[in-house]
Amino acid sequence: MRNLSFSQATLEAMLEEMRRDERVFIMGEDIAKQGGIFGQFQGLPKEFGYERVRDTPISETALVGAGIGAALAGAVPVIDMHFADFIGVTMDEVLNQMAKMRYMFGGQATLPLVLRAPDGVTQSAAAQHSQSLEAWFLHIPGIKVVIPSNPADAKGLLKAAIRDPNPVIYFEHKNLFRKSGPVPDGDYLTPIGKAAVVREGQDVTIVSYSSMLGTCLEAADQLSQHHGIEAEVIDLRTIVPMDMETIYTSVKKTHRLVIAHEAVKTGGVGGEIAASVSENIIEYLDAPIIRVGAAFTPVPFSPPLEKRVIPQVEQVVEAVRKARW
């Protein structure tokens, strides 16, 4: 076990997978010579060259479209989107090509493709560089969506995504890149589609993921210290396919559910979880399900404005207390 930053962990994943499988290559804007905005590609070209670690024109549509075509023709592309927001530029490729090709061609196509999408709020990046868009892809069959919250899963999920024969969108929160944590030694995968119970408790279940998970763990500590509430915290880790069983098991024990994410609350992943819990195990609930998410605004620039619209520890604490009526 070593202490690595999130970006170091993803770099290790790339190194290991590119050594393991020569079909794996990565391309994106400013990744090879610059090494990525967060240093997450630093040194890769030295070992693999500028063909397999490839700077591209500013052509997001071609980037994803060519990634799909390369996957169809037998390569294993990892595509860096630079910022998750730029998936908007290439949405047809994602929505109408990548997600549907296997299905509409009756299983003839295999797309072992990973889109790395740095998302979330960091350092006043403002409205076009701060979004959390995972819910869009929950609504499109044919894509897997993973979203790690710590360096160990960042590595394990990236390796699993590269080895997965399906298209996977890998959301990596920009605010996490420099955060450190323990990372296991050796070759390991974090299974796609498995949530993790990261804090046990019996009073309420909090489901979260990505950067917001840390906020929820802080809230859980405060709830324990100041309010005598022991929260069970689940790190979802994968948005598609979603591990509802782990959530059901926990809710059957705690009878209360709060879902927290940095993405806009309206139409978010929280609503889907809440609906599924209501449909399937409502008899176990002792209180309304509470969702915590960003306000229904674009992400503003100025630091106090940015902080105002993104959920903070106090809001999670408040939500849990509401769910404890």
């Binding site: 397999r52 052509s59 075509g69 390369a70 037998g74 509409m104 009756g106 003839q108 024969p165």
Partner: protein, 343 residues
């Protein structure tokens, strides 16, 4: 051995010089494929209007020489990406007419097990990476296939078929630039059929020749009479060989004409019947081919008749195959969303 004279095209901006010794087998192959496409599309038209084919269909009638001319210059292992008007490309690349027909009928025995239909027909076993319901959707797929080939130092080529309308998509620009800057083994084949759905070329496109756009990417380009399979083939051979030898991509513009409406059932209020009839009389690729091989005695009457009989029989067999094939079980709707097993 055959000798063909150079002759100027009647079309402004077109030129071709055909002076190649072509084997008779290749000519027979062209006639067989072009006629197969024509008869297939005629049958689809008939069956669609009879209500036997679901969805909507876009016919390739009038453009057979481009698909066949290009694909006959490709290897089975080469890749093509296609358009919403993709039956012709699929058959030209060598797909089984029975499984094509069954797919359009929505049957389990079709290429996509009934999940794709006309607009999503594909045969990956021959490198046909799919028709595409999104105009301009194929550019980057071909670029990616060519990139995969270049990365593994292979010798395959990826051909992207597209229409004049698609050249106004942003994907055209991004793909051609990327292919050129990386010298990818790709060929972009524009089927300029003069119509983007109901909009004529000049109303939607700032240039008359799509080929001139290649100069923006320092990419070689050529314009050929797309209704002359000899000319298309010669241009395709040159472009494909350039790509295969590492010389990078080429834009080949084939001037042709969409004889049928945008889709079967199109009332075609945007053009006159006279325009279509005059195109059919002057520029029908099958008629062009037929007259030429007869005039220049390149193929004998018996050879041509034998091909016609073979095509007619195969089409009838394909219809019978499709009509007697079962529909997919409704539960198959849930298959193939994902690859089940994670390696």
């Amino acid at each position: 051995m055959l000798r063909m004279e150079a002759r100027p095209s009647e079309r402004k901006g077109c030129f071709f010089v055909v002076n190649t010794n072509l084997p008779a087998d290749l000519l027979k192959e062209w006639y067989y494929r072009m006629l197969m496409i024509r008869r297939f599309e005629e049958k689809i038209n008939e069956k669609f209007l009879a209500g036997e084919i679901p969805g909507f269909v876009h016919l390739y009638i009038g453009e057979e020489a481009t698909g066949v001319g290009v694909c006959s210059a490709l290897r089975k292992t080469d890749y093509i990406t296609s358009t919403h008007r993709g039956h012709g490309h699929t058959l030209a690349k060598g797909a089984d007419v029975k499984r094509c027909m069954a797919e359009l009928y929505g049957r389990k025995t079709g290429y996509c097990k009934g999940k794709g239909g006309s607009m999503h027909i594909a045969d990956f076993s021959i490198g046909m990476l799919g028709a595409n319901g999104v105009v301009g959707g194929g550019f980057n797929l071909a670029v990616g296939a060519a990139l995969a080939v270049q990365l593994r130092k292979g010798d395959q080529v990826a051909v992207c078929f597209f229409g004049d309308g698609a050249s106004n998509r942003g994907t055209f620009h991004e793909a051609l630039n990327m292919a050129a800057v990386w010298k990818l083994p790709a060929v972009f084949v524009c089927e300029n059929n003069q119509w983007a759905s109901t909009t004529p070329l000049h109303e939607a496109t700032a240039v008359t020749d799509i080929a001139v756009r290649a100069s923006s990417y320092a990419m070689p380009s050529t314009i050929v009479d797309g209704n002359d399979v000899f000319a298309v083939y010669e241009a395709a051979v040159e472009a494909i060989e350039r790509a295969r030898q590492g010389g990078g991509p080429t834009l080949v513009e084939c001037k042709t004409y969409r004889i049928k409406g945008h889709f079967v059932g199109d009332p075609e209020q945007y053009r006159t019947r006279e325009e279509v009839i005059s195109q059919l009389e002057e520029n029908d690729p099958l008629k062009n081919f037929f007259l030429r091989v007869q005039n220049e005695q390149l193929l004998g009457e018996q050879e041509l008749v034998a091909i016609e009989e073979q095509v007619a029989a195969e089409i009838e067999e394909a219809v019978r195959f499709a009509e007697t094939s079962p529909y997919p079980d409704p539960e198959e709707a849930f298959d193939d969303v994902y690859v089940e097993e994670v390696s």
